[in-house]
């Protein structure tokens, strides 16, 4: 946990913090607009603060706000935020290899603090889980520095948005800075042809089935993209008839 001096005195703590600081303006603008959106939806200041600190998931919060306003049932709101958060389930399968040696409570605090960006930056710096104790400490120090900056930035910018909700017009569209931050991270992950295919398929499907309830479009988009990529990775042998016609096309 980032409260431990072993981590915050480690050189990797500063590297993790610096990597996150570079994205700070985009997420600060996003946090600000999330704070504004929560208060404008009719939540009280106390509720908005609690949501910022406890939920700590911008896209799930933004997805839940219209549902809260509409008075949707509790399970629908929780199911919707679970769907928006499903990508974290995928990340957790990957992070398991890095965290399992820690006690459960520490794993869960670390997991709670690991958002999209922290995950992406972390696995970029440490592509393989370490086995040696000192390298494991370096990993945790990086994670601690990175998520500390992220959490602190998210809370302060959201609290600022909550405080200034009636001064900042949402028409300015400052929240778009958050989309740009996510765009930059997507670009940094587009390192293979199939990953580009994955992004294109997911983006297309998410738009096509946007009208599905509960943000299920995101889930369907991920599933379709992964299915298409797995199919392309190992092309199934073509049946003889279609192979013949493909050859005919070449001639």
């Amino acid at each position: 946990m980032f409260l431990s001096p072993v981590y915050y005195r480690h050189a990797e703590f500063r590297i993790g913090a610096r990597d996150m600081l570079l994205t700070l303006p985009g997420f600060a603008a996003w946090g600000l607009m999330t704070g504004v959106a929560m208060v404008k939806s009719g939540m009280s200041g106390f509720e908005a603060v609690m949501m910022t600190v406890l939920v700590f998931a911008g896209s799930a919060q933004l997805a839940a706000i219209p549902l809260i306003v509409a008075g949707a049932p509790l399970w629908v709101i929780v199911a919707a935020s679970a769907c928006v958060n499903l990508r974290f389930v995928v990340f957790s399968a990957h992070l398991r290899g890095y965290l399992m040696y820690l006690p459960r409570l520490e794993r869960m605090v670390t997991g709670f603090l690991t958002t999209d960006l922290t995950y992406v930056l972390f696995v970029r710096r440490f592509p393989e889980p370490a086995v040696e104790p000192d390298k494991r400490i370096a990993e945790q120090a990086y994670l601690a520095g990175n998520s500390f900056v992220n959490w602190f930035n998210w809370c302060t910018s959201s609290l600022l948005g909550i405080a200034l909700a009636n001064v900042i017009p949402s028409a300015w569209g400052l929240g778009f800075a958050g989309v740009l931050a996510l765009l930059a991270i997507s670009c940094s992950m587009a390192t293979s042809r199939l990953r580009v295919v994955s992004a294109l398929v997911a983006g297309g499907v998410a738009v096509l089935v946007y009208s599905l309830p509960l943000k299920l479009n995101v889930l369907l988009a991920i599933a379709s993209a992964v299915a298409v990529c797995l199919a392309l990775e190992k092309p199934a042998p073509l049946p003889p008839s279609s192979r013949a016609s493909a050859n005919g096309g070449d001639a």
Binding site: V39, V78, A93, S186, V207
Partner: protein, 111 residues
């Protein structure tokens, strides 16, 4: 001032539990466990798919509908941001370039 009510607080607690459960899903239990091989390969494609699924609608849709005009500040801002990324690498430059294109078009021209 909006008032605090118990139901909204319950929703917030429910959502907080969702955050913890999804972020920790595969490392809450100590029991040894491995992913099937196809799922492990799928992991390579899932994160970028999740990001694209969230951001593409934010760029090309307005209130649930595909935009019908090219005069939309978001299209140019996203193109400029992505252009910067592939030219120079760097998250901060992408955000700054994108917003430098976005704000004048959006606030100045109303796109």
């Amino acid at each position: 001032m909006n008032t605090t009510d118990g139901w909204t607080l319950l929703v917030i607690v429910g959502m907080a539990c969702t955050t913890v459960l999804t972020r920790c899903f595969f490392f809450i239990l100590d029991r040894p466990w491995t992913l099937p091989a196809w799922a492990r390969r799928g992991l390579d494609f899932a994160p970028i798919a999740a990001l694209a699924a969230v951001i593409v609608p934010e760029i090309v849709m307005t209130q649930g509908h595909f935009i019908h005009t090219w005069q939309d500040a978001r299209l140019f801002a996203a193109a400029a941001g992505a252009g910067w990324y592939f030219w120079r690498k760097g998250v901060l430059g992408t955000i700054v370039t994108g917003m430098l294109v976005y704000l004048p078009l959006h606030l100045g021209l109303g796109w």
